[in-house]
């Protein structure tokens, strides 16, 4: 954790007026609290990425390879050929400024280089110099500048202040997507070994153990067994998750954050309870995998190639186990990867079947090629067909609002499924203002691998627009629970809420589903999955016991 985090009253003193000096002449100032530590060379080397070494962004010498400029130039050129998006986005921006105040990092920091247009100009300036005639001839006048160590540092600092949330791309009249530019920029930085450790180490872990946290198979099972005990304490029901089961109907993959960190763990318990219910009532046959025990993909924040290498496990495991299709848990960028990249990278998937819900018979036609279904699609379908016995009153103490995760919103378009599920499992639901939800949603401020402790100031400023909208519904409707379908959200939003709106807690959707779900043979259910007394239920039992005492 960064030590000196300013107070909210101080942090919100944001000046959105750019400085007097021209942006090309404003030197880079790498500030503590705004960046993540450099990648651990062991992690970089483990996955065979180039230029693994100890380095420190605060030191002058970044220990770059001698020919680093050539590496960047060649890498740039290669990516211009491989990605039309990159080439077109380098050429057609008119700098109209529509994107400027759409970025949560700009809103929260006021740093002009966090305006999406300037973040992109950091790369475009070098593009013009290296790849366009006008840039070569007119130089600075045309916004061109040669690559230098200061430019490189600027790239590193600001490309790791972008969470690839794509909000700017909604507003750009040409659809220029800063996420795409950041992705390319980070790929180039990775050619020089300039990653951050919050990404590099999870990547190495995931490659080796199957999940970001480096949980080995036995420990993974231990953790789920621990939840089994908790669930038994809370509901009186012993659930029996299956692991690496060959011939199961469905493989379930979720971000490992749900297995490890609160409040994601409650969401994980939620999945287990739901699966148990479906198993008991309808014979659902679903398995977890310790090998493909990660839905999230920090390779996506490293390079396309790394993304593909990590993602490959899902299909490989599905094939090995011989499942019919894959069900995916609540995660943000995991779903952007599944939706827009997975089948292209690691398909085709002829070894599986087109996904059909074994309970309702619904064909998930929208997933017929990828063969992977989002759990809120699955659950929404169950609810629609009346297959779940729900008692939403167990969530009556919650006043819920819903945070659309950036990736599932602008990289997938899943908006109404989660809302439908929420509205069926709890009675008090309030939307945040329209400009801050759905395709206009604001990032948690910690996406794209920026969820470290040392960059807390960046996270809190970047998360300000989201927190501010939550505060609005908290003040207006007394909202006390922020629901989301993203593991990074569940890891990042609690810190954000604690700082800006301390009265609001964070939950995954399936935690609320499980709290509402009536299990056959369950006990009184006086506490929720967090082991906290459910106000209404508790009162009832108290009244009952009082009555008993009176008798």
């Amino acid at each position: 954790m960064a030590e000196e985090i300013p107070k909210p009253e101080e942090l919100i003193q944001i000046k959105h007026r750019p400085p007097k000096t021209d942006w090309m002449k404003t030197p880079i100032n790498i500030r503590k609290g705004m960046y993540c530590y450099a990648s651990n060379p062991k992690s970089v080397a483990y996955v065979g990425l180039p230029n693994a070494r100890e380095w420190n962004p605060m030191e002058d010498d970044w220990k770059l390879p001698e020919n680093w400029q050539e590496i960047i130039h060649e890498g740039f050129k290669e990516r211009l050929e491989r990605f039309r998006s990159f080439k077109v986005f380098m050429d057609i921006c008119v700098r109209c400024g529509a994107c400027a105040d759409k970025c949560h990092y700009f809103i929260g920091t006021g740093d002009p280089k966090n305006m999406p247009v300037l973040r992109a100009e950091l790369l475009r300036s070098v593009y013009r110099n290296d790849f366009t005639k006008a840039g070569k001839i007119l130089g600075k006048l045309n916004g061109a500048r040669p690559m230098s160590i200061d430019v490189l540092k600027e790239w590193w600092y600001y490309l790791f202040q972008c969470s690839e949330c794509r909000r700017c791309s909604v507003f750009c009249p040409y659809g220029i997507d800063t996420a795409e530019i950041t992705i390319m920029g980070r790929e180039l930085l990775n050619l020089l070994g300039l990653n951050i450790d919050w990404i590099a180490t999870p990547v190495a872990n995931c490659y080796r153990t199957g999940n970001h946290l480096g949980i080995q198979p036995h420990a993974f099972k231990d953790m789920l067994d621990f939840f089994v005990d908790d669930i038994e304490d809370i509901t009186g029901i012993k659930v029996e998750p299956q692991y690496n089961k060959k011939g199961a109907d469905i493989l379930f993959v979720t971000p490992s954050g749900d297995v490890f960190a609160d409040p994601g763990t409650y969401t994980c318990m939620g999945y287990m309870i739901l699966f148990h219910y479906l198993q008991e009532k309808y014979g659902l046959d679903i398995t977890w995998s310790t090998y493909a025990s990660e839905g999230g993909n920090f390779g996506f924040f490293t390079s396309h190639e790394t993304m593909k290498r990590l993602n490959a496990k899902m299909y490989a495991e599905a094939k090995r186990l011989g499942v019919k299709w894959i069900l995916g848990g609540e995660c943000g960028h995991m779903w952007r990867v599944i939706n827009q990249y997975m089948d292209t990278m690691n398909g085709p998937t002829d070894f599986m079947e087109e996904p059909v819900s074994p309970i309702t018979g619904t064909k998930f036609e929208n997933a017929k090629s990828t063969k992977m279904v989002h759990i809120t699609e699955f659950t929404a379908d169950l609810i629609k067909h009346g297959k779940l016995d729900l008692d939403p009153s167990r969530n009556d103490h919650l006043k819920v609002t819903y945070h659309d995760s950036c990736n599932t919103s602008r990289g997938m378009g899943i908006f109404d499924e989660p809302r439908y599920v929420i509205q069926n499992v709890c009675n008090h639901f309030y939307e945040m203002p329209a400009n801050t939800i759905r395709e206009n949603t604001f990032c948690c401020g910690s996406g794209a691998g920026l969820n470290a402790g040392e960059d807390m100031e960046l996270r809190l400023t970047g998360g300000l627009p989201r927190a501010n909208a939550v505060k609005y519904v908290h003040d207006k409707h007394g909202v006390n629970m922020l629901a989301c379908i993203c593991a990074i959200d569940r890891a990042a939003l609690p810190a954000l809420m604690e700082y800006w709106v301390p009265e609001v807690d964070v939950t995954g959707i399936h935690e609320m589903v499980a709290n509402a779900l009536n299990l056959p043979g369950q006990n009184e259910r006086t506490t929720d999955l967090r082991g906290e007394d459910i106000p209404g239920m508790q009162a009832e039992t108290q009244v009952e016991s009082e009555e008993e005492a009176n008798e």
Binding site: M1, P8, P18, K42, S43, E81, R82, F83, S85, K87, V88, I92, C93, V94, R95, A100, M115, L118, T132, A134, G143, P173, Y174, G175, D177, E180, W198, T201, P202, L213, G214, P217, H218, K221, N244, K246, G257, A261, E305, R309, A312, K313, A316, E317, D343, T344, M345, G347, F364, T370, M372, E377, M412, G413, F415, E417, E439, A452, L464, A495
Partner: protein, 364 residues
């Protein structure tokens, strides 16, 4: 002062002086024939080159921005335009984008109120200004077809009629304005360019990001519109002579008729510069918008596989390697394995990498 717009302004003034001096020393052939031909060749060749160059780059992944509800369960309303799943829907999305600047219409302005309340209000001016600018420009271009066609096609006449329905006449022995009838498009174009320029100057964020190459086309187009308006309403050049010249260009029998004033050559020179500059500048957004992968692709990637032309095999950590590393632990934990160990393995796992960011996350 701001060097970037000063430079652009000076550049346009220099161009003006060049054309003026050129016609003064009798270089009408250069400014009326050679440069326009050259400009049009550069424009067409450059435009095609640029678009082909873009299309040569691959589209490895489908990365449309999904700005509405995906198509999933049949009872959930699908946002067909903002999350298009077929070509027709994409065409509608693109058409709305290109013809109505739909994304720009969403524009909001963020402000920090009462110290701690962020608000986002609809900000319509940029959209109005941009739309006015582009449509006025288009109208002007269509009207100018009159100079390059014989007989004049009906749609040109139609556009002229619509454009001049609004009449404004100021008739005085000393100063007359409004005869011939005023075309609205010219005035709107001038005003829109002025607006686009002023917002670059007065909106601090936009000023900060503006380059010389953002101001230059604005000054140039302002110059084009202004010289055009002056010719039509003030200096009243000989339209018949102008048409003789322009028709000469179209029929490849170029001539320089007498009685065409200097201002015409300035006008034509500005247009020539704009055309020649076009393919090498941000003005290529005209072509680029059609190729923007966040807008022109379908979002049905889960239902239909998109092919990446350069997809290559990558090293992966296979299940076999994984099981080899963790087999005993898996067996001990009761997790099924592929291979039961034949003999007692000697291998001992190095306890490397056990301090993971996991621990840090736990701390939160």
């Amino acid at each position: 002062m701001n060097a970037r717009y000063m430079f652009s302004l000076i550049a346009v003034i220099v161009l003006l002086l060049l054309a003026w001096a050129g016609t003064a020393v009798g270089l009408q052939v250069v400014f009326g024939i050679i440069l326009p031909y050259l400009a049009i060749v550069i424009f067409i060749a450059g435009f095609i080159y640029k678009v082909l160059n873009w299309s040569r780059s691959a589209v490895p992944f489908r990365i449309p921005t999904t700005a509405g509800q995906q198509k999933s369960l049949p009872w959930i309303k699908h946002a067909q335009i903002d999350c298009p799943t077929n070509k027709l829907q994409v065409i509608v999305r693109m058409a709305l984008e290109i013809l109505t600047f739909r994304s720009l219409f969403r524009n909001t302005r963020m402000s920090l109120k009462e110290v701690s309340k962020l608000s986002y209000q609809l900000e319509i001016f940029l959209w109005v200004g941009a739309l006015a600018f582009h449509y006025a420009f288009l109208t002007v271009v269509i009207r100018h077809l009159r100079f390059f066609t014989e007989p004049v096609p009906f749609f040109v006449q139609l556009v002229e009629n619509i454009d001049s329905f609004f009449r404004f006449e100021f008739l005085h022995p000393v100063f007359q304005f409004g005869l011939p009838g005023v075309f609205l498009s010219g005035v709107v174009l001038l005003l829109a360019v002025a607006y686009l320029f002023l917002r670059r100057i007065f909106t601090p964020q936009v000023r900060y990001i503006s380059l010389a190459s953002d101001y230059f086309p604005l000054f140039l187009i302002f110059g084009i519109a202004l010289t055009g308006i002056l010719m039509r309403y003030v200096t009243k050049i000989d339209v018949t002579a102008v048409k003789e010249l322009t028709m000469g260009l179209v029929t490849f029998q170029p001539t320089i008729p007498a009685g065409v004033g200097t201002i015409f050559y300035i006008h034509v020179f500005f247009v020539s510069i704009l055309l020649a500059y076009f393919p090498f500048s941000k003005l290529m957004h005209l072509g680029g918008i059609f190729l923007s992968p966040t807008r022109n692709l379908t979002t049905d990637t889960r239902a239909r596989r998109h092919i990446n032309p350069w997809n290559y095999p990558v090293p992966v950590h296979t299940y076999e390697e994984y099981e080899d590393e963790f087999r005993e632990k898996m067996i001990e934990a009761g997790i099924p394995v592929e291979k039961m160990p034949a003999a007692k393995p000697v291998r001992e796992e190095p306890p490397e990498e056990d301090e993971k960011p996991a621990q840090e996350e736990e701390k939160e």
